[in-house]
């Protein structure tokens, strides 16, 4: 469950002026029949190819800036920065390649029973922790129970909640998680309370990491600042809060090739202007990997793309509008499609967002090439005539009041204002437009009386299309009756038995191709036919990479550099 409140950080006022101009230009074109995607100019910065795999030399220290993580101990590692450090220190049962494919980690192979309720992971032999202790099934069980223990205060232990016995253990009424069997040191058998044929993907989350017998309590900061892992890197001294984290290669690493790098240095920067400082540090040669503020994207690209140091990737995430689809005026698919068609995504992306992302035409992002359906959202284009036609048939007549709420402080002010203006101009709606704190936004969205549209963003925790479709659109993810506030993440209260059946079938399918086909069908129904929510633009990430010094430097699923593959040039 990754609901993000921040989007793009502050964008200069000039961009807003730019948008108004673009907006006018676009409006003068509205007589031209729209919908021809090919005729529209490409917007945003295109994705770059992965850097080619090249043989390199061992050695070197890779340096980058990050914001202060919440934790680098797997029991509570959560945001990109904390996970970035934790995944270098720990190797879980499986690992996910940058493109989302699953490869062995501490487990050499894994198998589910027929209904995917019992999973058996066979562990690699001879692997050890950084302190020399062997990694066995008990190490995993110990790690999971440590995170799930009620006193741990872990904010990520819910990733374990599909395991049988988790609830009892977490409530303190059981002494172990009964669903985890570690009697055979070379094999860990997991019984799930909720069968899941993609369960192995979950175990890529750091909370599924093994811990050694000498592990400290989750409240013992001396240990949680210097956790002992089994990953390709080990800590070189404890985490210096607000200062930095230093890693060194773990030479005895046996779960794959040992790393080539001698080490890595994460310099902790203040979160308020981290992106700017990362960029400055890249320019002055201090960092080998950097983000940059949106206002600098164009300049950075012009400077560094010719040098081969520019990385642009569509990442795990989607920006969209949640639609209260059970309440007027948005209670028909036509009304939702009309709103979607009336939004000029290209103009906003080029104007306010300064090309920093790419307009979306689906909910499942292209990160999942096998399930990605470009243009599955037929109404994710700009066509004012069609929008007006559908609006008229749906009773969304000019003057209709539409509530539009967004959260402040996440850099959403400009583009939501542009969306509002487009809806008012193109459909004649009376948009009541409110900015409020993130938690209030979620409360309003989930309230039974919620109407209208809400700014939203989502990123999957596990690399599967299902982690977009099920939490956001399945009936079970409403978690409430129509008179109660939503408890899941399906804030739009979308409910379609046909969709529910398809995603259920997909989750219960062991065959990957079949599963992807079912995901596609489900998305076609929810987004293509019902327009349950309105996709806007994808999550796109940009990095500057010191490719003059390092090779094989790509971005992984968690948007961090692939430290384990980087070589010196």
């Amino acid at each position: 469950m990754t609901r993000s409140k921040a989007g793009l950080t502050a964008v200069a006022m000039t961009a807003v002026v730019g948008l108004v101009l673009t907006g006018c230009a676009q409006q003068s074109n509205q007589g031209v029949p729209g919908g021809d995607a090919a005729a529209q100019p490409a917007v945003g910065f295109p994705e770059t190819e992965d850097f080619p795999e090249t043989p390199g030399k061992p050695g070197g220290v890779f340096r980058l800036g990050i914001s202060e993580p919440t934790a680098i101990d797997p029991f509570n590692a959560q945001e990109s920065e904390g996970i970035g450090v934790t995944e270098a220190l720990f190797t879980g049962l499986v690992q996910v390649e940058p493109d989302g494919t699953v490869v062995p980690g501490a487990a050499t192979d894994w198998l589910a029973n027929a209904d995917c309720s019992v999973w058996t992971f066979n562990l690699a032999q001879g692997a050890t922790f950084h302190n020399g202790e062997p990694v066995d099934a008990a190490s995993f069980k110990r790690g999971w129970e440590r995170a799930a223990a009620p006193e741990s205060g872990s904010e990520v232990s819910y990733h374990l909640d599909v395991i049988q016995g988790y609830t009892e253990y977490q409530a303190g009424t059981a002494t172990e998680i009964t669903g985890v069997n570690a009697t055979n040191p070379a094999q860990i058998v997991v019984t799930l309370a909720k069968p899941d044929c993609e369960y192995e993907l979950r175990t890529n989350h750091p909370v599924y990491s093994p811990v050694p017998t000498v592990v400290g309590a989750t409240t013992d900061t001396a240990y949680t600042d210097a956790p002992i892992g089994n990953g390709p890197f080990k800590l070189d001294g404890p985490w210096q809060h607000d200062t930095g984290i230093k890693l060194a290669r773990f030479d005895e690493y046996s779960l794959g090739e040992p790393a080539y790098l001698d080490g890595a240095e994460f310099t902790i920067l203040p979160s308020a202007n981290a992106a700017q400082l990362e960029y400055d540090g890249f320019v002055n040669g201090q960092f080998d990997w950097a983000r940059m503020p949106p206002t600098l994207l164009k300049l950075a690209r012009e400077t560094y793309e010719p040098q081969g140091k520019w990385l642009s990737k569509i990442a795990n995430g989607m920006n969209y509008l949640t639609v209260a689809g059970t309440k007027a005026p948005m209670d028909s698919a036509d009304a939702r499609k009309a709103v979607s068609l009336a939004i000029d995504r290209n103009a906003i992306v080029q104007g306010v967002l300064q090309g920093s992302t790419t307009p979306a035409s689906s909910l499942v992002p292209s990160l999942f090439p096998d399930a990605y359906q470009k243009d599955v959202c037929g109404a994710c284009r700009y066509d004012v005539e069609e929008a007006k036609r559908l609006a008229a048939s749906a009773g969304l007549v000019p003057g209709t009041e539409l509530s539009f709420q967004f959260n402040t402080g996440g850099g959403h002010e400009e583009w939501t204002a542009a969306v509002r203006q487009q809806l008012e101009t193109n459909l004649g709606l009376k948009v009541s437009y409110t900015g409020l704190p993130f938690t209030d936004l979620l409360n309003n969205e989930g309230a039974p009386e919620a109407t209208g549209i809400f700014r939203s963003a989502w990123g999957a925790d596990y690399p599967t299309p299902g982690n977009f479709l099920i939490p956001l659109l399945a009936t079970s993810s409403i978690g409430a009756t129509p008179t109660e506030p939503v408890t899941g993440n399906n804030y739009g209260r979308y409910s379609n038995p046909e969709f529910d059946e398809l995603v259920l079938k997909a989750s219960a399918s062991q065959d990957e191709a079949e599963r992807n086909e079912l995901w596609k069908q489900a998305e076609k129904i929810a987004i293509g036919d019902d327009q349950a929510l309105i996709p806007l633009w994808v999550r796109q990430q940009f990095r500057l990479v010191a490719t003059d010094k390092f090779a094989n430097t790509n971005m992984n699923f968690n948007e961090n550099p692939t430290l384990e593959t980087i070589t010196l040039k």
Binding site: E68, G244, T267, I268, P270, S271, A272, G285
Partner: protein
Amino acid sequence: MGKFILRRAAQALLVIIGATLLVFLANFAFGDPFGSTGDRQVPPAIAAANRAAFGLDQPLPLQYLTYMGNLFTGDLGVDYNQNRPVIELLIETVPNTARLALVAIVIDIFIGVTAGIIAAVKRYSFADVLVTVVSTLAIGIPTFVIGFVLVATLSGVGPFPTVPRSFTVEVPWYTEVLLPAFALAIVDAAFVARLMRGSMLEVLRSDYIRTARAKGLSERKVIGKHALRNSMIPVITYIGVSLGGLLGGAIITEGIFQYPGVGYLLFRAIGGNNAPVITAVVIFSVLAIVVLSLIVDILYAYLDPRIRLS
């Protein structure tokens, strides 16, 4: 003299009580200071520990007493991000800020007093005009502009470390402190130069200076011994208050140079809505200013007997 110090100390104590009361009211009387979060949820255990430490379940007057008690025992609560006592963070950063403030003040005094004396003694000369023009310019430029220009032009050049830099790059403190100290000192030095020039001119017109000159004292002695001491009074007041402000942390400058002082700590804490740290740093800043003003007043009295006798 003893009586005077006692009286001023009592006044300072009142100011401290008033100031902490204000900070307390601002932070505690309206809502829950530990409920607000930045991007992150405050771990419930830490929020609870903070609430308990600050006695938030008690009525307001009792809360204030708890809070004052905590202040005296150095218990400033626990930082959200790092789960460390805030006092530790202060202990780590205060020496750095003190170093920065002192270096800045030394640069400040050196440039400001020298320029002021030259301008006053050689009134209407080219040097005087130059001092006036340059100081006007310096006062006009915001410190952050000077900071950014220094970072852009000098950081990474010669002995000056790059900004930002990887945390493992160790630099001697005196190379790290120079640029931010210089950025802080420029505006102050301009003020000091103008103050110094004005008060020196006034003193030079007074009778006792004429007497001194009539006695046949060298001009060097007249200026350096007789005039300087009296004309320093307004300058010392200014420098004292300015030092107090710098000790409380120069948020913007320390932020620009990523200088690990109190100001940078506050800069980060505000970015993360880290209420316990913000509260502690603000109180520290108030204390720094109050204590420094007290010291200035005492010095003042030492320099000018009329003050302590009145």
